[in-house]
Point group: C2
């Protein structure tokens, strides 16, 4: 065996042993469920510091939204408000389609028009309110008092208020493709359900990335969609597998990943830790509000970047 093979094999084994040891030492086999009230310190110590997802029961029961947020209420309260909506032919926004990273068509429409589309879904046309620029405070300000503007114990735990609060509502065909965020995420389902497929950051070497030309859907005169390259953005890296039907012939390493699947129902909240890969699907008309809190760029992030750099070094030396 050559020295190259030696060190390549040695470092690859370090990566695989670490991912395995994560499961032996501290990762849960299923996402656990805890009940409110939540102690900020305990939440921080047991979930944030250790970067482990958890479902919280009973933390939203005082929200008027849990009872109020129905179609008739929205039509009455915010029917005329212009909201930002994404449209795709297949439900996949910010996802790999035909070998490109395709972003949705974004448009403004009244909330009533959006609700009409949800009521009578068209083939090849999937609508989703998913603008992540704190749209709850920007576009849905007249219903903001139906929820909390922050999660009090979360704000205490993280030591600061949320950076953004987002409103989500959409078609049951809408899917968020696998990715990871540099945020701590408190994700609250108000109506319906969301299913998350979660992969821990310690499995990152098993999650393949490719470089894709970025593009966007654009509706044509016939009401169909074309994919138009976004020359300005150029090429971007994105996760190359769909965890619902992974191509293991092409990406055999993904076979080592150990995804967790969890369905979050109305009234429940998911703590989705920073840097976890996640893929999201939902019930038709599902409504959710999420709170993004800044993550700490501390020793955990430092080690994580190290793992990512080592994995990239090993993988580029083997091609």
């Amino acid at each position: 065996m050559s020295d190259t093979t030696d060190i390549h094999t040695g470092v690859t084994e370090c990566i695989m042993n670490m991912a395995e040891e994560a499961r032996e030492l501290y990762l849960d086999k299923q996402v656990p469920v805890i009940s409110a009230p939540v102690s900020p310190l305990r939440f921080y110590r047991e979930h944030v510091a250790s970067n482990k997802p958890v479902v919280v029961e009973g933390a939203l029961q005082h929200w008027p939204a849990l009872k109020l947020w129905e179609e008739s209420y929205f039509r009455k309260k915010i029917g005329d408000v212009n909201v930002s909506v994404t449209v795709t032919p297949n439900g996949y926004a910010d996802a790999v389609t035909d070998g490109k990273f395709v972003m949705p068509d974004e448009r403004k429409m009244t909330m009533s028009k959006f609700l009409d589309e949800l009521d009578a879904p068209k083939k090849d046309k999937v609508f989703y309110i998913q603008k992540q620029n704190s749209n709850l405070t920007e576009e849905f300000s007249s219903i903001i008092s139906d929820v909390d503007t922050d999660i009090d114990w979360g704000t205490e735990a993280f030591g600061q208020p949320p950076d953004a609060v987002n409103f989500w509502m959409g078609d049951g065909r809408a899917v968020t493709s696998m990715h990871r965020d540099h945020y701590e995420n408190l994700y609250c389902v108000v109506r319906g359900w969301k299913t998350f497929i979660l992969i821990p950051p310690t499995d990152l070497a098993y999650v393949p990335y490719e470089i894709y030309q970025s593009a966007s859907y654009r509706e044509n005169d016939q009401g169909g969609f074309e994919i138009v390259d976004d020359e300005e953005t150029g090429k971007v890296p994105w996760v190359a597998i769909d965890p619902e039907s992974p191509d293991l012939d092409r990406y055999p390493q993904y076979g080592h990943a150990r995804p967790l699947k969890v369905t979050v129902h109305a009234g429940q909240m998911l703590y989705l830790p920073s840097l976890w890969f996640h893929h999201v699907s939902q019930s038709h008309g599902c409504i959710a509000v999420n709170y993004w809190y800044d993550m700490q760029f501390d020793i955990k992030y430092n080690y994580y970047k190290f793992l990512e750099n080592v994995a990239n070094t090993v993988s580029s030396s083997s091609t």
Copy 2:
């Protein structure tokens, strides 16, 4: 450049970039000082989760020990108590001497006899009470009410009481050689001062280890010391440099480490995070009490072991 050199260089660069990025992202240039009262959540978030040392002022001011613990008090209260003492010819217990890892001579003597030795220190004979088996509760139980049996905000932060509480008192020549512990350490100085040289775990690749024959000091009939091999323990790995006079010709990599130096005075406490390398020296007659809390074997530890394994793989492939 060959592939071997490529991957060896690449992974080595990952290690060095990580150590550098730790300093840019979150490490303090000097150990900061905070004042009691300490919020358990804030302490956990800003120091424990991020694995950063801090000196705490004013956390011990209610301890009777701060006023009581003097020679006359000890002679009166616990003069006849048999205590465990280590003895070395040079102050270096559990340290590398003459190419061996040499443990001290351990013996029992009355507290009065120990205080006599401190009063009139002999050349080539250094005494130190440093038994780390919760000796405060075991051997010094009659003075335990002069301090707290735990640090209340520490116990709340860590979510459990301390695993051990230790009493330390000794000669100004006594030195604790550089090592790291799998414990969170709240180290309280009651009289005199301790100086800590601290190196973060992210610098571990710069801290050289060697394998040494383990041995112990044994006093001979002439009152001198012999070094006797400990065949049962055999060979052990230990840190090969003395941070007070590092041999950079032999261990040039240590030149990249960035030690922090901090002196902790009577009434102050040092939070010494798990896995930080530390070397300790002290004033003559310095008295201290430390609380060892179990560390979490979580994602931080998982990543740390990964770094250690990668560093070992790279270093063994270059020899």
